[in-house]
């Protein structure tokens, strides 16, 4: 470009004419046996912001068997921010199977043409999202941690961790619609339910014969959840790491958790050593948590641990090494031996809470 030339007016980004008919933000509302996966509500909270930024509607997609409470789920979706819901109920959608769900969702997308489609990065969501994106030949960004609209181009900018969280990258799907993204459970906050909200339910028929579906569900055995920890939804978590040295010392973590009514978590090495169960691992290859308080004892703060607990409101770190990376992102730090600090915290919390109870 020549220097003398008059500076051209900043080129306006025109929306690709192929995309004009693609409108609205969709969230796949994942339910099985009438139970909605909470990640769907988290996505509606996020989707609401995107729809508002674009000036379009937020739509939920609900799929279920005929006897299931499809309309009830739609009503809940409205409470969490949806303006409309597409409801597909058919016998072949009773249990999740890849083939009928992929067909039902791609049919909906082809008919109603959303510009954005989001799914939870659950086992179901990951199974479905990859198949739908491949059928539609569009882009799918996995495990996003931040979603924003570029006001000028109307493109969705999806940010996700990569290389185990050491780096973040922002990914665009500029030349294809819909733009698809998955988000892991608990990465986004849970929106407040507004029971006064309602919306429009659009029932869409679906005709797929059971005889045409190749995969059959012979049996479903639900997990025994009675004594299972639920870290992703715990309000307080006390976690221990390799710095606790011996499995016996983990008792100090349990003791503090008991006083606080907290769940117990840990870093990967202590899970791999069998000190605590797999369900208690916090981090990239474990659970993502969002407690109000997270206490980390003897945990160095490796990026793979951090990505799982960074969303905590308050983080307390106890570590003998003043240069441990965890102090870079904790809110309060104590340099010292976890084996003496943990019991002290247990004792002080206990007496503080006893006093608070007495005071009413």
């Amino acid at each position: 470009m020549s220097e003398q030339a008059k500076k051209p007016a900043r080129k306006k980004v025109e929306l690709d004419p192929r995309f004009i008919n693609y409108r609205h933000v969709w969230v796949f509302v994942e339910s099985e046996r009438g139970e909605v996966h909470p990640v769907s509500w988290e996505l509606l909270g996020e989707g609401r912001k995107l729809a508002d930024a674009l000036g379009v509607q937020l739509c939920g997609v609900v799929m279920a068997g005929p006897g299931e409470r499809g309309r009830g789920i739609c009503a809940e979706a409205f409470h969490y921010g949806a303006d409309q819901c597409y409801l597909v109920q058919d016998p072949v959608l009773t249990d999740y199977r890849n083939e009928p769900y992929t067909k039902a969702l791609t049919d909906l997308v082809n008919t109603y043409q959303p510009e954005i489609l989001m799914l939870g990065a659950s086992t179901l969501g990951r199974d479905l999202a990859g198949s739908v994106a491949t059928t539609l030949k569009t882009g799918l960004v996995a495990d996003c941690t931040e979603l924003v609209i570029d006001a000028e181009s109307r493109n969705l900018a999806s940010t996700r961790p990569t290389f185990g969280g050491s780096l973040l990258c922002t990914i665009l799907t500029q030349r294809h619609r819909p733009q698809m993204a998955t988000v892991r459970p608990r990465v986004m906050g849970m929106p407040e339910a507004d029971t006064s909200r309602s919306g429009q339910i659009i029932e869409v028929p679906f005709s797929m014969l059971e005889t045409s579906i190749i995969t059959k569900v012979l049996e479903f055995i639900p997990d025994d959840t009675r004594d299972k920890p639920n870290l992703p939804f715990a309000d307080i978590i006390v976690s221990g790491g390799r710095g606790l040295k011996k499995p016996e010392n983990f008792q100090l973590v349990w003791d503090l958790a008991q006083v606080l009514g907290a769940e117990v978590g840990g870093s990967r090495p202590v899970v791999q050593a069998g000190w605590i169960e797999l369900d208690r691992q916090v981090g990239q290859s474990g659970k993502t948590v969002r407690p109000k308080l997270y206490i980390a004892a003897g945990i160095s703060g490796a990026i793979q641990h951090r990505v799982g607990m960074d969303g905590a409101d308050v983080i307390i770190a106890i570590n003998s090494d003043p240069n441990a990376p965890i102090f870079d992102f904790a809110h309060y730090g104590i340099v010292g031996n976890a084996m003496t600090i943990l019991p002290a915290l247990t004792e002080v919390f206990k007496s503080h809470l006893a006093q608070a109870r007495k005071a009413g």
Partner: protein
């Protein structure tokens, strides 16, 4: 019984460092390994071969150095290995990757029918878990993700039964072969290869296919051109604006530290104090 196992060579992410100034991955010196999740897929395929006989073919799409990962698979007992390598693949996202791998698998099928295709659950670098579902869709075969156990294979009826980790439980599924299985981690343990396989692996004349050999004529479908997703920016996670407030006392006695911490924290976060009081026993 012919299984094709898709494996990816990945940098050992435990040893990945990010350049503090340029925010680029410093790959130098970082060992490349077989994506750990893919070993569960390979072992499962080898077990089926132990039971039913047959062939295990491993496939990877990657740069020439990915040959090392394939040789490792041969040393575990895989029979054949194909490296799909072409500059035209550079920049492929999962849609383009599944296209290239599907075309490769179709080529393999021309020589020998395939009963099962295996992938890992996900990789540790791209970490999308999208390539397996993508291949299954493109091959138009059934997809079984997060399989924890292969319960039964009926080669006569061409049927397979598996246990699959679903949301909130375990599904027992029956489907037709060929199908694509993504294997859950922790479901088996990779064997030690025997000495014969080790020697064979070192000498084996493994196949290197460029895009034409893999049956791809349309370069629009692969590499950056075939990839709807575009990485627009790579950056380091932003540090929290403040480092932790360090709790110290003159004597650094544990109990005094704990008292100081609680006083500070509950002054700054009065709601948290109420929350804890409410739920604690």
């Amino acid at each position: 019984m012919h299984s094709v196992v898709c494996i990816k060579q990945v940098p050992d992410s435990a040893q990945i460092r990010v350049h503090p100034v340029t925010n680029t991955i410093m790959r130098q010196g970082v060992p490349a390994i077989i994506n750990p999740y893919d070993l569960f897929a390979l072992e499962e395929a080898l077990r089926l071969k132990d039971r039913f006989g047959g062939t295990v073919t491993v496939v990877t799409m990657g740069p020439p150095m990915a040959e090392a990962a394939l040789r490792k698979c041969l040393s575990y007992g895989a029979d054949d290995a194909i490296l799909v390598s072409d500059r035209a693949f550079a920049g492929s996202d999962t849609l383009a990757t599944s296209f290239a791998l599907t075309s490769t698998i179709r080529k393999i099928m021309e020589n020998m029918p395939v009963d099962l295709i295996f992938t890992g659950k996900q990789t540790i670098d791209g970490d999308t878990a999208q390539v397996g579902p993508g291949i299954a869709k493109r091959l138009d075969c059934q997809l079984l993700t997060y399989v924890s156990k292969i319960v039964d294979v009926d080669l006569e009826q061409r049927e397979i039964q598996v246990e699959r980790r679903a949301e909130g439980g375990v599904q027992f599924l029956k489907t037709a072969m060929p199908c694509l299985i993504t294997m859950l981690e922790g479901t088996n343990e990779m064997r030690f290869g025997d000495l014969d396989d080790l020697f064979r692996a070192a000498r084996y004349d493994l196949k290197v296919w460029n895009k034409e050999a893999a049956g791809i004529d349309d370069a629009e479908m692969i590499g950056l051109k075939g990839s709807p997703t575009v990485v627009s920016k790579v950056f380091a996670p932003r540090p929290r604006s403040q480092r932790a407030e360090m709790i110290e006392t003159q004597d650094n006695d544990p109990k005094n530290l704990a008292v100081t911490l609680l006083a500070k924290m509950f002054t700054q976060h009065p709601k948290l104090e109420k929350e804890i009081a409410k739920r604690a026993r």
